[in-house]
């Protein structure tokens, strides 16, 4: 079954949240199951996170913001400074070139112009053939940007009445758009889902695992969607608006995530000569925004899903890893202890034998028993080797492989070296004789 994936508040009334819940939800799960119904989205049972998780994610977000801030600053500040310098130079050049203008007059003019621009009036060029920013198609587009919460801001209401109306309009319009987006997303998901089902049926014949199918269908979804909703419009914008490739993609992404800076707006070229197609252009752009938003919301919620899966998997893996590590450590230490014990017993065993053989030798050769304690390593090995040659004394084996059976059964016998498998019969006889 799908794991929980309410990336956004599972609420239809907020377009962004609603969009995030719309289909298709091709979350990367190992279960070969299908996309979710809208009804699932509101299930809070499985989604309440612990405070620890929430605060962890929160700190991550803050960290993300700080990282973003530093990168933006590093990238943009030099550029900004050079722009400032350039425009100041322009101003000074202008003043120098036109000696009758004093700087305060110029300041005043520029100030007024800037205010006018903020109000949406472009003082550049002739005013006669300029089109209004508030004709029907532009107002329609503006209303659309308000409802979708994109809010470009290239046009904005400046009268008090306009602003109050904007508030009321948005209050009603945003939920409305939310419903619409959910509906569109659903249909989109259904259409796409049918296609995916067909593809999956084909792939299943090739006996590919379910996980792979899921991955393939997710990738297909991303690819296909990107092609239709991102690449194609970007190309069209590049052609019509004469932006660069990067700027077109930038515009598409910023618009479809509803951020909507407004530095690039489709259809902004109107202001001088209004092309005839502009009347149809803006509504078409709005329609693209609607469908593209549904797609983008699905993508973003998928990314959010992956975050959740990754965090869940990481948690599981960390838990598993810890369990494994504990197990491994326990095993290793147990084995180590065993080996040490065996080794020490082994070594003790060897020394016992060496001692007994020495005694035997000393009794035979008449060597003083006290020398036993002063035996140098050299003599020790000599005697050991001697013993080896004479009695087939097995070498001290320091391997970690368990001795077949003996250890487990007769640990105590080892202590005096009398394990039946190990000791030589002769040896035992000799030792017993010595005793």
């Amino acid at each position: 079954m799908r794991h929980r994936a309410s990336v956004a508040a599972p609420d239809l009334l907020d377009p962004k949240a609603a969009a995030h819940n719309s289909k298709p939800r091709l979350s990367f799960s190992t279960k070969p199951v299908v996309l979710n119904t809208p009804e699932d989205e509101c299930d809070t049972r499985t989604t309440v996170m612990r405070w620890k998780t929430v605060s962890a994610i929160f700190f991550l977000v803050v960290l993300y913001l700080i990282i973003g801030a530093t990168v933006f600053r590093a990238l943009e500040q030099p550029h900004e400074s050079s722009q400032k310098l350039a425009i100041l130079t322009q101003k000074l050049d202008f003043l120098v070139a036109h000696a009758c203008v004093n700087s305060s007059e110029l300041e005043e003019l520029v100030r007024q112009v800037v205010i006018a621009i903020r109000e949406g009036v472009n003082p550049s060029g002739n005013s006669s053939n300029q089109t209004s920013l508030w004709d029907m198609s532009s107002s329609f587009f503006f209303a659309g940007t308000v409802i979708t919460t994109i809010g470009f801001g290239n046009i904005s209401p400046h009268t008090e009445g306009g602003r109050i109306f904007c508030i009321i309009y948005a209050l009603l319009g945003i939920p409305l758009f939310g419903f619409l987006l959910a509906g569109v997303g659903d249909q989109l998901g259904t259409i796409f889902g049918k296609g995916i089902a067909k593809v999956e049926k084909m792939i299943v014949k090739w006996k590919v695992s379910q996980t792979k199918i899921r991955v393939i269908s997710t990738l297909l979804f991303i690819l296909f969607g990107c092609l239709i909703f991102v690449a194609l419009p970007a190309v069209i914008f590049k052609h019509i608006e004469e932006w660069s490739t990067l700027e077109s993609i930038y515009f598409v992404v910023i618009t479809l995530t509803t951020i909507g800076f407004g530095d690039f707006v489709a259809g902004e070229k109107g202001g001088f000569e209004k092309p005839e197609y502009l009347d149809y252009y803006k509504p078409v752009v709005l329609f693209w925004i609607l469908v593209g938003l549904a797609y983008f919301a699905a993508v973003l919620s998928m990314i959010g899903d992956w975050f959740r899966v990754i965090s869940k998997k990481t948690k599981e893996e960390v838990g598993e890893f810890r369990a494994h590590a504990a197990e491994w450590t326990a095993n290793v230490s147990a084995e180590f202890k065993e080996t040490r014990r065996r080794l020490s017993v082994d070594i003790y065993d060897k020394f016992q034998r060496a001692a007994s053989i020495k005694r035997k030798l000393s009794s035979e050769l008449g060597i003083n028993a006290s020398i036993n304690q002063e035996m140098t390593p050299g003599k020790r090995t000599l005697s050991a080797n001697f013993c080896e040659d004479r009695e087939g004394y097995p070498t001290v084996n320091l391997s970690l492989s368990p001795v077949p059976g003996a250890l487990a059964r007769n640990g105590s016998l080892y202590l005096n070296g009398l394990s039946p498998e190990y000791a030589d019969r002769q040896e035992i006889a000799i030792i017993e004789n010595l005793k």
């Binding site: 990336v7 599972p10 009804e39 989205e41 994610i57 003019l109 329609f140 809010g151």
Partner: protein
């Protein structure tokens, strides 16, 4: 089949209504704003003419100069004397910018100028937006219990029926949110930002908290802003909290309309919620999930409001 047809019909109905709503809005905006725009345009023309008349500047060079000034202004670089003190990209402003990017508000008062900046913004947004949504949802879910479920049960225990209880609670919550996140901040903004009126403050709060973010009003843009870093930080916190409360409000509204039967009427998803579950791990067992799936599947078929979904296609 009837269900499929009905859902399609509903969708078309929605689209139609949406288009009509847009047209209506366009009409009203146009009627309100256009006269003002014409007046302003006239004023600027007059100003330009006056300037040209009394000086030796030719129209062409003035145009050229203005064009450059406006291009710079579009990116937030101001040529006026007193506007060049603060950078748009010092750490506080950059963080504010990153915040507007990630919450999708997107004022646009400062936008990336360099190509690298634009490319970075794309990736930053693609990762950051779902991330932020995740955080907000998580926080809202945590808040749901103390702010919604507990008070509602309290109301119910004090004798109200469930349906009126939810309605009463929702109204109370709405009132509280409007007070704390619109009226009070608007008053503060009016005080701190010299040139904003109270209506401007409310307008700004609304536009920001709905994440529309037109950008005509942006806090902290005054040239001599005291404690700018602190101020921007406070605004960021306000935005985050405000967004959370908006989500909470919507969620409560959804639950309430659930209880009142509005959602089934309009064939919308219902909110099945369980109040008691708090510290649940966000892990859905593979073991439990198939049965939940089948449960839901079964109930889906019975539910009058169930729409055709991928689930049903696969089963069928």
């Amino acid at each position: 089949m009837a269900l499929v047809g009905r859902s399609w019909l509903l969708l078309i109905g929605f689209i139609l209504f949406y288009v009509i709503y847009l047209l209506f809005g366009a009409l009203i905006f146009s009627t309100i704003e256009r006269p003002m725009e014409d007046k302003l345009r006239l004023e600027v023309e007059v100003l330009k003419q006056e300037f040209l008349n009394q000086s030796c500047v030719s129209a062409a060079s003035l145009e050229n100069f203005l064009f450059k000034v406006l291009a710079a202004n579009k990116y937030g670089v101001f040529v006026l004397k007193n506007a060049s003190a603060t950078s748009n990209w010092d750490l506080a402003s950059s963080m504010f910018f990153a915040n507007t990017l990630v919450t999708t508000v997107g004022y646009g008062h400062s936008t990336p100028l360099s190509d690298t900046g634009k490319a970075f913004s794309i990736f930053y947004a693609l990762l950051g937006v779902p991330f932020t949504m995740l955080v907000l949802t998580a926080c809202v879910q945590r808040l749901l219990y103390p702010l919604v479920l507990a008070p509602v049960s309290l109301l119910q225990r004090s004798g109200l029926e469930p349906r009126p209880a939810t309605a009463v609670h929702f109204v109370l919550l709405l009132f509280l949110v409007v007070l704390c996140f619109f009226l009070v901040p608007a008053a503060i903004f009016t005080k701190v930002e010299g040139s904003w009126s109270f209506l401007d403050g409310i307008y700004f709060c609304f536009i920001s908290l709905c994440t529309i973010g037109l950008g005509d009003f942006v806090p902290g843009m005054q040239p001599e802003q005291k404690y700018r870093t602190l101020y921007l930080g406070a605004v960021m916190v306000y935005l985050f909290l405000g967004l959370m409360m908006m989500y909470l409000l919507l969620r409560t509204f959804h639950k309430m309309s659930d209880v009142h039967g509005l959602t089934t009427l309009l064939q919308l998803p219902r909110c099945e919620d369980s109040d008691a579950d708090e510290d649940r791990e966000p892990i859905v067992d593979h073991a439990e999930s198939p049965q939940r799936q089948t449960e839901k599947g079964a109930s889906n078929h019975l539910e009058p409001g169930s729409q055709v979904s991928y689930n049903t296609i696969n089963k069928g």
